[in-house]
Assembly symmetry: C2
């Protein structure tokens, strides 16, 4: 079969399998994302090993096809984070108030510290060589990011989205994503130079050479190169905002008025790609930070969101997101986690223990962190607990950070597989946990907490006025 | 730089350059497509040699990046032809009547025969080894396909789209595309087995082995394998229609009702990819024939077009079409046509003569063919001439057929470059020729031909009723 034909067939299989599994999961009252990630894992080396099929072999291996899928997924992730930025609303963030804000902070700190700790605890038994501290920080980072869509969907089913815990979850999850991406940026910026990709290596060498050329030597070189990196990071964020207001936004608007088909979307894509490229190549932060930031700026400081977002949403969710989930699955091999092949008994049991403890602490630490953050800001205990349970599920952002770690060599494929397993399980347990947590509300307080008034259940016909004013 | 970062930068450059050049061409009253193709050629080896830049070299060459762009362009072409199918309206075809139908037939036959003839005439002088007759047929095929968008835009500017020549151009161009794709399918099906890609080779071997296993030998094997191929082709078209009505349409509708994001578009993409794959792998016709056919069926035998087409249009025209035009440019080197390096004087002048004659006869043969076809069906001579001039410009479909020929080895890169040159020039000359042709209409017949009534110019304020009922 010709290469292009194999690609057509592969894309058809990927889109079909991903969407169908998502729908199947929904039918059994599970989050669609759970089905989409699981089918990706099943299509990968864990079970079906799709790319091992003879039709996807060219020149004796599946390298060509794999590289195409992975690159397409990377382009897709950039678009996905651009869409995520477009869908982030600063204004509703400002409204959620202190419990949500400090809940989010707690919900980031808790998983980060516990993830960091568990990895350090197990690292000695897991085998393989690593930059111990740095990988620990990265594992902690992967555990931070909440996926709000799963909780939001469950809350809608329960009719609880407009309650105080519901709104807290929505607000805190957004802050959570931003914090996760910021931590990722710090981690990427300070990665040991032998760990990260070619570009970074060049950047480091360049900075070091530049400092040495100025006559500096000894430990001062390291210190100055770290300072230079921090300056580059900060400069990227500051320049990113300034250039948005002075150049990028005008460029997109100008492009949108050109007499060509789809000029506006084309202009937005050009800038999103350039922000992504510049973020990593010039600003020393992750590429997705750049496209996310541009989406955020478009959504909150222009009136172009309504025109750009729907056009991009269609193709992102019908083509690129399925490719991303399947590419995650192609890099995951749960057998390396749960089968003893090629390991000493210590490594085997340490691996399983690590996987189970990561999942357990990913759940506990998120609930604990959010709960403490929210309760100390005066939220009722039960509501804080409900909000914290709604933050348990991890999703795309965690997977994206993990795949960046894998491709740059910070985490190996076994730890990557554990992280995918963690995302799967947290996604799976959130809806039932959330239903249970909301069932704890005493009957006379049901639907309460909206605006602070424990008003009891509104009669089913009287939902028009007060509920629509509920702030979201 | 990391590979993914290089891809982000490259895509940003491609989208920007393509759309900007299109707009620039429009400003100077040239077709946008002309600018988009020209910038692709300029970015290619002809001038800038974008992929020769150091940042796009990985493992010592630009092979990885080139392969990604070319594969993405092939996926894009599949989507582009799917959109083209979605935008093809059978009903308006039935309305255009015999002059448009026979004009289209003439406009296909003329260029096909002349292209075939010129190539045979020059083949001996051009150097290189070829399957003489087969390549001649392919060159003829590339010359057939009209690009209606350029003429349509010019006619709108002139206010002549609703005239009889205008409607004839619209109808004939659609028939033209379908005929071009059908000829391509025949050409691909009957390609000598050593000329076309791996898949076809396997298919041929498979068919031959199957026939030999039945105890047949000698020349009967060739005859039977040709018969088998014809049966497979016909079976593809018949089964394609039957499966659309029984399975494919129901599948897309079912997928559209699944509780997942963008299910309808995802389902349509799955089937479009599968029709493309099956067309070439099972049906032995070109992949684009399959996706075009599926688009045609959706548009004319379902009510899903309004939901699918706009969503696909955005990303196709903002991302995939620019990539396609630039990938065409990357494969084109006009220097091999117009510079004498490495050629004998005979080859050099034969090459230039061939290029110029191809362009000249591409124009003449289309005008002649359409004119004869239309006039013999009773169209007025001047109107037939105006319609024929509007059919001169070639566009995407010609380039797509040419790139299929290049990738399967039927035409070499020099002939490919001549074909791109031909598309550029015919695109460039059509708008001025068309303006001139319409200026020949005597003043008392201006805006005439609409429904046959030479009504004279309507007063500017009275455009509501009669014009909107004009059939398109």
């Amino acid at each position: 079969m010709k290469l292009a034909l194999a690609i057509f067939l592969l894309l058809a299989i990927i889109i079909f399998a991903s969407k169908w599994a998502g729908a199947l999961a929904s039918r059994y009252h599970q989050p669609a994302v759970f089905g989409e990630i699981l089918i990706g894992v099943l299509l990968g080396p864990t079970l079906i090993n799709l790319l091992g099929w003879p039709i996807f072999q060219f020149h004796g291996s599946n390298e060509v096809v794999t590289e195409f899928v992975v690159l397409l997924a990377e382009v897709g992730v950039l678009l996905l984070m651009f869409v995520a930025g477009l869908e982030t609303d600063f204004n509703s963030l400002l409204k959620v108030g202190r419990p949500a804000f400090w809940g989010a902070i707690g919900g980031v700190l808790g998983p980060f510290l516990l993830g960091f700790g568990i990895f350090l605890l197990f690292a000695g038994f897991l085998g393989g060589e690593r930059h111990l501290w740095f990988t620990a920080i990265f594992v902690g980072t992967i555990l931070t990011a909440t996926s709000v869509s799963i909780s939001a969907q469950t809350l809608i089913e329960l009719g609880k989205l407009r309650t105080r815990p519901g709104l807290t979850i929505l607000g805190a999850a957004v802050i959570d994503d931003i914090l996760g991406i910021l931590i990722l940026s710090l981690v990427v910026a300070f990665a040991p130079s032998d760990l990260v990709g070619e570009g970074k290596q060049i950047l480091h060498d360049y900075v070091v050479a530049w400092i040495e050329a100025a006559g500096v030597s000894g430990p001062m070189v390291s210190i100055l190169s770290v300072v230079t990196l921090v300056i580059m990071m900060v400069a990227f964020f500051v320049l990113g905002v300034i250039l948005f207001r002075t150049v990028a936004l005008r460029f997109v608007k100008w492009f949108g008025q050109l007499p060509v088909s789809e000029g506006l979307l084309a202009g937005a894509l050009v800038v999103a790609l350039l922000y992504g490229w510049a973020a990593e190549f010039l600003g020393s932060v992750a590429a997705i930070t750049g496209s996310y930031m541009f989406g955020l700026l478009i959504a909150n400081f222009s009136n172009l969101r309504e025109e750009i977002e729907p056009r991009l949403h269609s193709i992102t969710y019908s083509l690129f997101v399925p490719i991303f989930f399947v590419s995650i699955g192609l890099m995951t091999d749960l057998r390396t986690v749960f089968l003893p092949a090629g390991k000493s008994p210590t490594e085997y049991w340490a691996g399983i223990g690590f996987a189970l403890l990561v999942v357990f602490f990913a759940i506990i630490s998120k609930i604990g962190g959010v709960y403490i953050g929210a309760v100390t800001q005066g939220m009722k205990k039960l509501e804080a607990f409900q909000a914290s349970v709604g933050m348990v599920s991890r999703g795309e952002v965690g997977l994206i950070i993990a795949s960046i770690g894998l491709s740059s060599g910070v985490i190996d494929s076994e730890i990557f597989s554990v992280m995918v397993f963690m995302v799967l399980i947290t996604t799976l347990v959130t809806p039932p946990l959330l239903r249970w947590a909301f069932s704890l509300t005493p009957p006379n307080e049901k639907n309460g907490g909206d605006g602070g008034s424990p008003s009891g259940e509104a009669p089913p016909t009287a939902v028009a006025g007060p509920l629509t004013g509920g702030g979201s």
